[in-house]
Symmetry: C2
Subunit: 118 residues, 2 copies
């Protein structure tokens, strides 16, 4: 399987999309980011950490851990990540814009199914 397909899956993954979208606007601390994303969909600590690590490893997200007590870790976008995030956001926006068409299509589809089954 093509290696770049995996990268695409990381970027378009459930939480990857939301992380990229949030970090595109400004850096976030861990819990802060969790709360921000939580406005849209509840993400567990585990999945957020995992997603961030994956994106960091792929070079999309920069992790900046300050050696202080209490711990403080800031996440921000790299230039590479910014390019990815912009495309992801464009696609996300597009789905928003076209949502009405999608729902119309769904209604038509469901209506057609209904008439054949009854």
């Amino acid at each position: 399987m093509c290696p770049h397909r995996l990268v695409l899956e990381h970027v378009t993954s459930r939480w990857g999309v939301l992380v990229l979208d949030a970090l595109l606007d400004r850096p976030y601390r861990f819990s802060e980011l969790r709360r921000e994303i939580g406005k849209v969909a509840a993400v567990s600590e585990k999945m957020l950490a995992q997603t961030l690590r994956t994106l960091e490893r792929d070079g999309f997200v920069r992790r900046d851990a300050k050696p202080v007590i209490p711990p403080r870790v800031d996440y921000s976008m790299t230039e590479l990540g910014r390019e990815a995030a912009e495309q992801v956001r464009a696609l996300a926006r597009w789905t928003g814009v076209r949502m009405a068409d999608v729902e119309r299509a769904r209604a038509a589809y469901d209506a057609a199914k209904e008439s054949t089954s009854v």
Copy 2:
């Protein structure tokens, strides 16, 4: 959860990406499409059928079943689907172009981990 997030997930799903990409070039019959996608990654009949149904319901794919024996079903893109597919393809292309950067980032990340753990 925002409804358009679901649409995004359909479009960027494992097989959704490949289906959209293939149908962007030309219409396909079911098994033909399965073979075409199979060049990249093996998809089961079940998942292909499921993916196609979802994309059809969302109004991205047009399904044209001819009432003949043996059955013949052609799948093609709607205008809405074409818009989505083009963005998905652009993102897929981008990951291909930037793959070298990603791999360099991964090597750096793994090397850093290695030195701290040893």
